[in-house]
């Protein structure tokens, strides 16, 4: 009797095994990676919904606003990338721990997930890699991962929250949480996006004219793509020598040269995104353009090398003001 049961069991197992083979023969579907472009405009609207892990976003939010990440527990990510002030601190340069000044204008954290690289010189490929920079720089947060982790581990609340990671509080997981949170800071549905999606009344005629000028006057050469920038490098001072005229060159002004040591990369920076540009003065990598008007005029002189009348500049400014989208919930 036992033998018969054994026999039946074995037959069942064998059959199941063979059926499992058949199962695994099913093809895995290739996922569609091509996103549909709307029309043929060189600018695409920001996606309206992005799926992210809510628990991680909440944890990242907490960490983003936690000054414990700095050595003196005074500076958090939000100190310089404040969500209330456009993801920046609206300073020429930011101030780190011990009141030390930064070296370069703070870029906005909004839509930073869409940037092709992080930092003005593009030295960080991902948001996660970017976090290593300010955390460890002595003129920014001046801490270390060991320090931060030990501080976080003292908090039972963090221990509880970090349970969504199997290995708990580690540098990788802290970066993952913060980066996930940063990715949640996207600003869709600006009036310009609505215009792009097919609503002709989203922009006034002047604003539409401003967009046309933006394109025809060459701004679009570099400030293109979904972020109106953020996807290429460019030298500042093409038509005229920017640094010669500004003077006082700092190491930060060398741009990508600091990373590649290639002469061609001297004074080459990542083209910044113009999304929510109205919220993030001062402009340019050194923060020397306090207004959009100043920034545009600098661009005209040094980059596109054109002669653009003030009326047109004003219209371009009006257009640029339409690039402010819905601020993230956490702001």
């Amino acid at each position: 009797m036992g033998q018969i049961i054994l026999g039946a069991l074995s037959i069942i197992i064998v059959l199941y095994g063979f059926s499992w083979i058949g199962h695994s023969l099913q093809p895995t579907l290739l996922t569609e990676t091509e996103s549909l472009a709307i029309g043929t405009e060189p600018i695409q609207p920001i996606p309206q919904v992005i799926k992210l892990d809510r628990a991680k976003v909440a944890l990242g939010n907490q960490l983003f606003h936690d000054p414990q990440l700095s050595h003196t527990n005074t500076i958090s990510c939000a100190s310089c990338h404040s969500l209330q002030t456009g993801g920046v601190d609206r300073q020429i340069v930011s101030t780190g721990i011990n009141h030390t000044e930064g070296q370069i204008n703070t870029p906005t954290v909004f839509n930073s997930g869409f940037q092709f690289r992080q930092f003005w010189d593009g030295r960080a490929a991902t948001l996660e890699d970017q976090i290593d920079g300010p955390i460890q720089r002595d003129f920014e947060m001046g801490s270390s991962w060991n320090e931060i982790i030990s501080k976080l581990k003292r908090s039972p609340q963090y221990i509880h929250h970090f349970r969504l990671y199997p290995d708990g509080i580690t540098a990788t997981n802290v970066k993952d949480a913060i980066a996930t949170f940063e990715r949640s800071l996207y600003t869709p549905n600006s009036r310009f996006d609505q215009f792009l999606r097919g609503d002709p009344d989203a922009l006034s005629l002047d604003e539409q004219k401003g967009y046309e000028l933006f394109k025809s006057q060459g701004c679009i050469s570099c400030h293109q793509g979904m972020l109106l920038g953020g996807n290429m490098y460019q030298k500042i001072g093409i038509v005229n020598d920017y640094f010669k005229e500004r003077g006082n060159i700092t190491p930060a002004d060398l741009g990508r040269f600091n990373q590649t040591r290639q002469e061609a990369d001297r004074y080459v920076f990542k083209v910044p995104s113009l999304r929510n540009v109205a919220l993030t003065p001062p402009y340019l990598h050194d923060g020397t353009a306090p207004t959009l008007d100043a920034a545009i005029k600098a661009m005209i002189r040094y980059q596109v090398g054109r002669q653009i009348p003030q009326d047109d500049i004003d219209r371009i400014i009006q257009f640029l003001n339409t690039l402010s989208g819905d601020l993230p919930e956490s702001s």
Binding site: Q3, S10, I11, V14, S24, F116, M232, V268, G305
Partner: protein, 616 residues
């Protein structure tokens, strides 16, 4: 396994056999377990090729080729179209990097040397990807600048020509330079470069005559021209270089190596899978054969048991059969015995009856003989004396007559006394009286004779007699019953006697028969209907070898359902006490058994006839 008595050596034997049986079982089980383990191993080996990993990895080749193609397409679009969006370039470039990372992790079934080959090819590809990334950044930057200048320069030149007098040599040179630049843009002839440079330097020389504003514009134009001639070739070179980066070739080479590895792995797993199939078939076969042998064994056991039981049942049945047989035989014997007993009883009863009857008859006979004898004597001398009386009376009459003749005249008193005595009447009456006395004594003598005849006891042996005598004697015996009664008038006896020879027989017994038959006839008549004249007819006939005596009556007849029974002993239709039921039985016995004759009865509602047939 034989069951053995609990002696020590037999216990050991038993133990040995049990252990062997267990071992056999264990061996079976262990074989099966081993087979399953092997099957498991084969199965596990045959799963070496994870098909989903394979497909995902396979898809990477197509994917990266597609990404590279699209990247190239976008590069060309960026180069030649008016407005462009570099997001696509970034996206495909990053996608290729991701593909590279994924390609570096081929499925586990890819072993060295293919794995090593793939990784080395991929590291070459990585170098090219890095190179591509650098070139791409340069391309984007330079292309943007070039496009801007290309787009703006014509507009600027238009503005300049509108604003400034075209006769101005500087402007003319500028215009020429512009045309050259346009030509250069179209043709990319490097020879034009020196022309343009020359023309530009000409403009710079002549620009002093221009107004400040115009000078600024010219300067701007020159700047853009310089940008164009500086960037054009670079951008073209970059484009060509980018398009020539052999990403796809690398991918294809990797694919070839991978296909080889996959083919090998598939062959490997196919082999194991087939082995697994075969083994599982064997296992199935083994199991099946085990099951079949089990079933066979059970079947045999069952059959043996059945045979045993059937044997036992047969035995039982046989037992029962023998019993039944014995019982049946016993029953039969019993029945036979019963029959015999019954017969015997019947015989005994009959014999008893006969004995009684015989006794009765014999005692009756004796009585009758005695009476007859006793009567005979007085009757004889009465009969004898009658003759004398008759004679005397006659003589006296003669005397009287003599006296009458002598004395005609008598005294009147005497005459009247004589007349009163009626002597004529006396004479007449005396004659009659004597006659009647004579006939009376004759009758008595007849009866006595009949009685004697009837009860011829001494004649227990056969005698040759005249049957008619016997009949008549018997008739005399029943004479008294022939008298009329309230129920019937006088019974008439009709005799039709034929000529009979003397018959050798037991005459007394035959007389009994006649007696019974006559009595029965009379009884029938007594029971019978009114109206018809009751009659008994006796007929005798001599048939060749036989003598027939027929006694018929016209009485009530014998009912048909009773007819077969009339000769049965103790069968009677008379009321209890009136008849023995033996009469006809005895007749039958006498006629048939004693005389080898036949006694037949024919009866209807009109009457009954008994026929006695006696052989002679």
């Amino acid at each position: 396994m034989k069951l053995s008595l609990p002696f020590t050596p037999s216990v050991l034997e038993t133990w040995e056999t049990v252990v062997k049986a267990l071992q056999r079982r264990r061996m079976d089980m262990s074989i099966f377990i081993a087979a399953f383990v092997v099957l498991g191993c084969l199965f596990w080996q045959s799963q070496g090729v994870n098909l989903s990993h394979q497909q995902q990895y396979q898809a990477l080749f197509f994917q990266s080729e597609e990404h590279k193609a699209r990247l190239d397409q976008n590069i060309l679009m960026a180069r030649h179209e008016l407005f462009n969006d570099y997001d696509a370039l970034v996206r495909y470039s990053q996608a290729l990097q991701q593909d590279q990372v994924a390609l570096k992790q081929p499925p586990t079934f890819v072993h060295n040397p293919e794995r090593g080959k793939i990784l080395s090819l991929l590291s070459e590809n990585a170098q090219d990807l890095n190179h591509q990334a650098e070139l791409l950044e340069q391309f984007k930057s330079k292309n943007a600048v070039l496009k801007n200048s290309l787009q703006y320069l014509p507009l600027l030149m238009e503005q300049i020509e509108k604003q400034v007098d075209s006769s101005s040599p500087a402007i003319a040179s500028l215009g020429q330079a512009f045309k050259s630049v346009l030509l250069y843009n179209q043709t990319s002839q490097s020879a034009l470069l020196s022309t343009i440079t020359q023309q530009i330097s000409q403009v710079e020389q002549k620009q002093t005559e221009l107004s400040q504003e115009s000078r600024a514009m010219a300067k701007l134009a020159i700047a853009h021209m310089r940008i164009i001639i500086a960037h054009q070739e670079t951008v073209n070179t970059l484009t060509t270089q980018l398009l020539q980066i052999p990403i796809i070739q690398h991918i294809k080479r990797v694919q070839i190596v991978y296909d080889g590895a996959y083919g090998r792995a598939i062959a490997y797993t196919d082999f194991y899978r087939i082995a697994a199939y075969l083994l599982s078939l064997l296992i199935l076969g083994g199991l099946t054969s085990k099951i079949i042998s089990r079933l066979k064994r059970s079947n045999q056991e069952l059959e043996t048991k059945v045979m045993e039981r059937t044997g036992k049942l047969n035995q039982v049945v046989q037992h029962l059969n023998t019993e039944i047989l014995e019982r049946t035989t016993a029953q039969q014997v019993l029945r036979q015995q019963t029959e015999r007993l019954q017969e015997a009883l019947q015989d005994v009863q009959y014999a008893q009856a006969r004995l009684v009857q015989t006794e009765k008859m014999s005692s009756l006979g004796q009585l009758v003989a005695g009476v007859a004898h006793e009567i005979n004597n007085p009757v004889n001398f009465i009969h004898g004396n009658l003759t004398y009386v008759d004679q005397h009376v006659h003589d006296l009459m003669q005397v009287l007559q003599c006296y009458q003749q002598q004395t005609p005249h008598l005294p009147e008193s005497l005459q009247s006394e004589i007349a009163a005595l009626e002597p004529d009447f006396i004479v007449e009456d005396l004659e009659k009286l004597l006659q009647s006395m004579r006939s009376g004594t004759d009758r008595i003598r007849d009866i006595v004779l009949s009685l004697r005849n009837f009860s011829r006891l001494d004649e227990a042996e056969m005698k040759t007699v005249d049957l008619h005598e016997g009949l008549n004697s018997t008739l005399v015996m029943v004479q008294h019953r022939l008298a009329p009664t309230p129920t019937h008038p006088k019974i008439t006896i009709t005799k039709h006697y034929g000529e009979l020879p003397p018959v050798h027989c037991y005459s007394s017994q035959l007389n009994q028969v006649f007696m019974h038959l006559l009595n029965n006839a009379i009884d029938a008549i007594e029971d019978g209907k009114d109206g018809a004249t009751p009659q008994i007819c006796i007929q005798t006939e001599w048939l060749d070898e036989q003598v027939a005596i027929r006694i018929a009556d016209n009485g009530s007849g014998i009912a048909p359902e009773i007819q077969p029974k009339i000769f049965d002993p103790f069968f009677t239709t008379k009321a209890i006490g009136k008849g023995t039921g033996l009469g006809l039985t005895i007749c039958y016995q006498i006629v048939v058994e004693k005389h080898s004759g036949k006694l037949d009865c024919r009866s209807s509602e009109q009457g009954t006839e008994f026929v006695i047939l006696l052989p002679i």
